[in-house]
């Protein structure tokens, strides 16, 4: 068997296990090799931009465990009933067929930085000249007393989209009349700062129609949160009296859960939950830690190129990296991926390199046709990625503007997913 791209495309874990390392090496034909771990907003974008720009001069391999990738962004809209789950699922066929990217559906489980290889759960070893790690987030063990991943069926996190999101939506729909939805919100920094609060808005929207006497409680270890004034105004306008936010000042950070009994203790007071969404503290995807690239919970990088501060052959993108001022979002990861792709092409093939520019915008939906947004532009300094300019939606905006903002977010979703998956 000779390995070519076509036979490699779509091979699963079992098939990948039969591939030996020399066969993978044989596919490279001496061209520079880039391995990308993680097929989300950072990894898929980086793989596509490198392959597109290099026009065959660089071998690009993308390692992503799932065959169908569900975006975290817009997964709250599925919970609210504004999107079908299928509409946020994406496959890698175009990246493989039109961009010649080797798509390997497997888990990356280790990095040998001296030998410059990535080992996969299926047994293969992928050699690289440059490695991109964009694995998203993992949860900090023991962050919420009483909760670990074995409890994620009783109390889903739904912070990696897909079956977890489906589960949470089903649990919201199954709540008894007048029941309680309880969210344990995460401490900073975490993926998608407005995400938990948009989710509460979407849960409230769903409950308002079918279960209007239901209650929502948020236990939050933070004294304030992203777009707080906009969310609180929207909650007052659309879901008056339904949502209680318990911030740090009132013991929102002093939480213990019992997934067996479906109870949550907030500052010593025990509440029975009919659906409970636990979003624990986060850290870089485990592979970053295994590669020895983390300091604390995250992997520090240089803003000029997104190179790890610990190993210049490795670039870390998106939620996993510590870069400075950008929030952890799909938009940020996509923006960082383009800077990394340019730097890597420059280093491996001598293509032109321009100064790094970054931007981010996060849209949130409060209720039907009531969208808000926050965004900023950034530049690389030697010390970090630094904010240049920003804006945020205002309270009291008119309905037409809010509707236009929501419609813009739908357009953005189509734009960024085309930018990621081709």
């Amino acid at each position: 068997m000779t390995l070519n791209r076509r036979s490699f495309i779509g091979t699963g874990v079992a098939a990948a296990a039969t591939l030996s390392a020399p066969m993978v090496l044989a596919a490279s034909h001496g061209k520079p090799r880039v391995v990308v771990v993680g097929g989300g907003a950072g990894g898929a974008t980086a793989a596509r931009y490198i392959a597109k720009g290099a026009k065959g001069a660089i071998d690009v391999t993308l390692v992503e465990p799932t065959r169908k990738y569900y975006t975290c962004f817009f997964s709250n809209l599925y919970i609210g009933g504004f999107r079908q789950l299928a509409s946020i699922g994406h496959t890698y066929g175009t990246l493989a067929a039109e961009y010649g990217i080797n798509v390997v559906h497997d888990w990356a489980i280790g990095v040998d930085r001296d030998a410059r290889t990535v080992s996969l759960a299926g047994g293969a070893k992928l050699p690289y000249d440059r490695l991109i790690l964009s694995p998203g987030i993992d949860f900090v063990d023991g962050a919420v007393p009483g909760w670990d991943v074995s409890a994620q069926n009783a109390m889903p996190h739904a912070y990696k989209a897909g079956s977890q999101t489906e589960l949470l939506k089903a649990q919201v729909n199954a709540m008894p009349q007048g029941g309680t939805f309880l969210m344990v919100a995460p401490p900073n920094p975490f993926r998608c700062p407005p995400g938990p609060y948009e989710r509460v808005s979407m849960v409230a929207h769903a409950l308002k129609a079918t279960n209007p006497t239901a209650k929502i409680i948020i236990a939050d270890p933070k004294p304030k949160f992203s777009k707080m004034a906009l969310f609180q105004e929207g909650w007052g306008r659309h879901y008056d009296g339904m949502i209680d936010w318990i911030g740090d000042d009132f013991g929102g950070g002093n939480v213990e859960v019992d997934p067996g009994a479906m109870t949550v203790s907030i500052d010593g007071e025990v509440t029975k939950a009919d659906a409970c969404n636990v979003i624990p503290a986060m850290k870089a995807g485990r592979i970053c830690e295994q590669a020895g690239l983390t300091e604390g919970n995250w992997a520090p990088v240089s803003g000029h190129t997104m190179q790890s501060r610990i190993d210049e052959n490795i670039h870390v993108l998106g939620d996993s990296c510590a870069q400075g001022d950008m929030p952890k979002s799909g938009f940020s990861a996509n923006s960082q991926a383009k800077v990394a792709a340019m730097a890597i092409r420059g280093a491996l093939t001598g293509s032109k390199v321009f100064p790094a520019k970054f931007s981010n915008t996060c849209w949130s939906l409060l209720e039907t046709n009531d969208g808000v947004k926050v965004g900023a532009t950034y530049e690389a300094t030697d010390e970090k990625i630094a904010k240049v300019d920003g804006f945020i939606s205002k309270t009291g905006e008119n309905a037409a503007l809010r509707q236009a903002t929501f419609e813009e977010s739908v357009g953005w979703y189509a734009g960024i997913t085309a930018d990621m998956f081709g």
């Binding site: 383009k338 532009t377 953005w412």
Partner: protein
């Protein structure tokens, strides 16, 4: 005697400010504007009996929110500009008359524009007579023009580097699609260079409303805007 110098400076500053306040011109010659307006009358009426025709009537246009006349069917582009906050003040009306599509992408006003600034000023002076006046309500839009919005020819003459444009474009294509789809977010591909450059400068100067675009354009320099225009114009 230093205090004397300071007083002199203060006096100069005061009179300078006073002079600046008077450093404005009447919008234009309304009588001549009535003649120029004949070009517009095929679609727009103004005056006591004015009704909507192909275009909306123009009574009270100064200070009016864009796309605000009930019962008139506006283009998607103008509705979008309106929800972004476009208000017809003197500066925006002038920009719109100069090149409707530079201010509002997708407008149905199929008019090449009045390239002569005097024609625009005169026609706006004429139209100003059919809107509320400062003499009637003090907060009405001014009846004088302060400055122009046209780009100097050297900015329009910059030949953009499409390779640089391709890199910069990656920031645009997170939202705007390369294939020209325009659901929720307008298409930016295959625009004539000048329209693209003028539109981007209109955002940069905050003449076009929309906070994201004002921010994105705000940090692009003249070369970068030209590079983007060159890239997107020829995008397949």
């Amino acid at each position: 005697m230093r205090w004397l110098g300071k007083m002199l400076l203060a006096w100069l500053a005061l009179t300078g400010a006073a002079l600046a306040e008077h450093d404005v011109d009447a919008i234009g010659d309304a009588d001549r504007g009535a003649e120029v307006f004949k070009k517009c009358r095929g679609c727009h009426l103004v005056g006591a009996e004015a009704k909507n025709r192909v275009g909306p009537h123009l009574n009270g246009i100064f200070g009016r929110k864009a796309a605000a006349i009930d019962g008139f069917f506006y283009s998607k582009g103008l509705q979008r500009a309106a929800s972004d906050g476009l208000i017809w003040d003197l500066e925006r009306l002038d920009a719109y008359l100069e090149n409707p599509k530079a201010l509002v992408s997708g407008t149905r006003m199929s008019f090449r524009g009045l390239k002569d600034p005097h024609d625009r000023q005169d026609v706006l002076a004429y139209l100003r007579g059919f809107s509320d006046k400062p003499s009637d309500i003090p907060e009405a839009a001014p009846t004088a023009i302060l400055h122009e919005v046209a780009l100097p020819p050297e900015i329009l003459a910059i030949v953009g580097d499409p390779e640089y444009g391709e890199y910069l474009s990656s920031e645009c294509t997170t939202c705007h699609q390369r294939d020209g789809s325009d659901d929720g977010i307008p298409s930016i591909t295959r625009w004539p260079t000048e329209d693209f450059v003028v539109a981007m400068h209109a955002y940069k100067r905050k003449i076009r409303p929309h906070p994201v675009m004002q921010m994105m354009a705000g940090r692009l320099d003249d070369e970068e805007i030209a590079a983007l225009a060159a890239y997107f114009e020829n995008l397949e």
